[in-house]
């Protein structure tokens, strides 16, 4: 049987490696944004380089997984769904990279009064993405547990939205000491952090439908 499964096992290893890379990317994003907010630009720069490498690895793995699934006719019935899911996860990685580059290029000035709440926003957004990954792993081994795992993704995504709303409201209603351009820039930066949780939600929606297909 091992002869028949050789290609399958190799693909499983690559899928696991891909998920690990995304997991690591989220972790680096969390730490990178936190160090930026706290003003540790050196640490931020290190994290940015790391994200760059992880994104390249994720892209390579994504291509290899797709190729192998097609070439060796792996999971023919669910291939389309799995490939789409991997693309969605890669979108998260791309989102992380682009967000961190926005910080690096635009060097947004975050008022000290917003530091704590911005870290909370970052945490909630990263949590949403992080909670998606156990559900992705469960899809392959215990599809009936996927939906309960996804509840956390939806919870953190909703938390991210609420925090983002609070920050934006505070900026535009309470912080009269900063000019409109700065406010608009802050809104833009918030959107970049928030985007990660939105991407996680898109992945969760897809995964939820995929797991139902497997269960019925």
């Amino acid at each position: 049987m091992s002869v028949f499964n050789r290609n399958s096992k190799r693909t499983i290893v690559k899928i696991d490696e891909f998920i690990d890379t995304i997991d690591l990317g989220i972790l680096v994003f969390r730490e990178g944004i936190r160090s930026y907010i706290k003003g540790d630009l050196e640490a931020f720069s290190t994290h940015l380089n790391k994200v760059d490498q992880l994104e390249a690895i994720a892209d390579r793995l994504q291509r290899e997984i797709e190729n192998e699934m097609i070439t060796y006719s792996i999971l023919p019935q669910h291939r389309e769904d799995v490939v789409k899911l991997i693309e969605e996860l890669d979108e998260i990685m791309d989102g992380i990279k682009s967000s961190m580059y926005e910080f690096d290029i635009e060097i947004p000035e975050i008022p000290a009064s917003l530091h704590e709440i911005m870290i909370n926003l970052n945490e909630a957004s990263a949590n949403a993405a992080e909670e998606l990954l156990p559900a992705v792993r469960a899809y392959f081994r215990a599809p009936h547990t996927v939906r309960e795992k996804l509840l956390k993704v939806y919870y953190f995504e909703s938390e991210t939205d609420k925090i983002a709303y609070r920050i934006k409201r505070k900026i535009f209603h309470e912080m009269h000491d900063i000019d409109l351009a700065h406010k608009a820039h802050m809104r833009y930066i918030i959107h970049h952090i928030e985007k990660i949780s939105d991407l996680a939600q898109t992945g969760a929606d897809l995964l939820s439908a995929m797991s139902v297909k497997l269960i019925i």
């Binding site: 049987m1 028949f4 399958s8 999971l75 019925i216």
Partner: protein, 408 residues
């Protein structure tokens, strides 16, 4: 001349291969789990093996229904069945080769004044109902077991699917074997009483007259699979697979089991020795068993809106196919005897021993070369596929290396 009379049976075999192979490998090919070429080679080899090794049981039962004792009669009966199958397929009506041949044999009985053995007929007809029901029962039980194993083992989806893929190939081979064993009676059953060829000694084993006919019938079925079943597999297969891969596996396995049970003299003897009633060795319709299995799984999964149209079509097929084949057989026999002046058989008690038809042509010699050619072709195919797989793997590796070299 002998080969000419066999043409109708070979045509019937060809159409059976073209249509019924999709029941065995349709799900695997339709879902692109295995290529058509692989499926066709496996199905062809195992259909021939099943026909030659285990084809006698179901064929004897058909012989009891009506022992067509002249090759002209066998030719006409098989032709009537083949034309019925072809016509009904063209009209997209559900059709079973088994029911067509039974109707055609009854037509011969009526024309020649032979009595139709009611007990045998009842046995055959009862399996048309028990076949799909048994298929449904097997399907539900197997489905329950597989689902439970899958859930409890926590097996990775990709590994599970790869097992299913391998399983579909193995079960497909078993299904093809059972199809050959069970349905060869439809193709060659009517020729068996009329033909008496010399035994063919191949050194390791000897092929009797009936087995030589079964080998030819098996080859015709294989030709049908190779030349015409691709389209049917790709269309019918996707219909079955729309359930799920494990359901497709279960459906093919339960169909193979039902066909095997109704053609295994060993199982029948075993039950008889245990004091239980014997299993009737009867050709059953593989399509109807498949439909029964699919309905079984549907009911287990709680499908409330059962498609009564399909059930109605099956029931209509039970009646319309044998009736059409019987009428066609009756009138064809009339024309063959009165216009072409060919002997189509007589009442059994008047019939003398069957003419030894191997005398004018030494068929056994021809068969020896046919068997050698099959073995040689099989070996060439195996080597060819091995080399093809190797080439594919090397090309894939090179393409990956080129891409990353370019990327860097």
């Amino acid at each position: 001349m002998i080969l000419f009379f066999l043409i109708s049976g070979l045509f019937l075999g060809w159409s059976l291969g073209a249509n019924d192979a999709s029941n065995v490998f349709g799900s695997a090919v339709g879902s692109k789990m295995i290529t058509f070429r692989k499926a066709a080679v496996i199905a062809s080899v195992f259909v021939i093996l099943g026909a030659v090794i285990q084809g006698a049981g179901a064929s004897n039962t058909l012989g009891k229904l009506g022992s067509v004792n002249a090759i002209g009669g066998s030719f006409t009966v098989a032709l009537a069945a083949a034309v019925t199958v072809y016509m009904m397929t063209r009209l997209s009506l559900p059709v079973s080769t088994t029911q067509a041949i039974v109707g055609a044999i009854i037509g011969w009985n009526l024309f020649t004044g032979n009595r139709t053995d009611v007990a045998t007929l009842t046995t055959i007809v009862s399996t048309w109902i028990t076949g799909p029901i048994l298929g449904a029962i097997f399907a539900v039980l197997l489905y329950m077991v597989i689902r439970r194993i899958k859930r409890r083992s926590g097996i990775h989806l990709i590994i599970f699917e790869s097992y299913i893929k391998t399983g579909l190939i193995i079960v497909g081979a078993f299904g093809a074997y059972s199809l050959g064993a069970n349905n060869i009676a439809n193709v060659m059953g009517v020729f068996v009483p009329a033909f008496s060829l010399e035994d063919l000694n191949l050194g390791i084993f000897t092929l009797s007259s009936a087995r030589q006919l079964f080998l030819l019938g098996g080859l015709a079925i294989a030709a049908g699979i190779i030349t015409y079943s691709k389209k049917v597999m790709e269309t019918v297969g996707t219909g079955i697979v729309s359930l799920s891969s494990e359901a497709a596996f279960v459906v093919v396995l339960s169909q193979a089991l039902v066909l095997f049970i109704f053609s295994s003299s060993f199982l029948s003897d075993l039950l008889s020795r245990a004091g239980l009633p014997r299993i009737p060795l009867v050709p059953v319709s593989s399509t109807q068993v498949i439909v029964g299995s699919v309905i079984g799984i549907g009911l287990y999964k709680g499908v409330r809106n059962l498609n009564f149209r399909i059930l109605g079509e099956i029931a209509t097929g039970w009646i319309s196919t044998p009736v059409i084949a019987g009428i066609l057989s009756f009138f064809s026999l009339f024309f063959v005897r009165n216009i072409f002046n060919i002997d189509i058989g007589t009442k059994i008690h008047d019939a003398g021993p069957a003419e030894n038809l191997s005398k004018p042509w030494n068929i056994s010699e021809v068969m020896k070369y046919v068997i050698l050619a099959i073995i040689a072709a099989g070996l060439i195919m195996v080597i060819y596929y091995y080399l093809l797989e190797k080439k594919k793997e090397t090309e894939f590796r090179r393409s990956e290396e080129r891409f990353w070299k370019y990327f860097k």
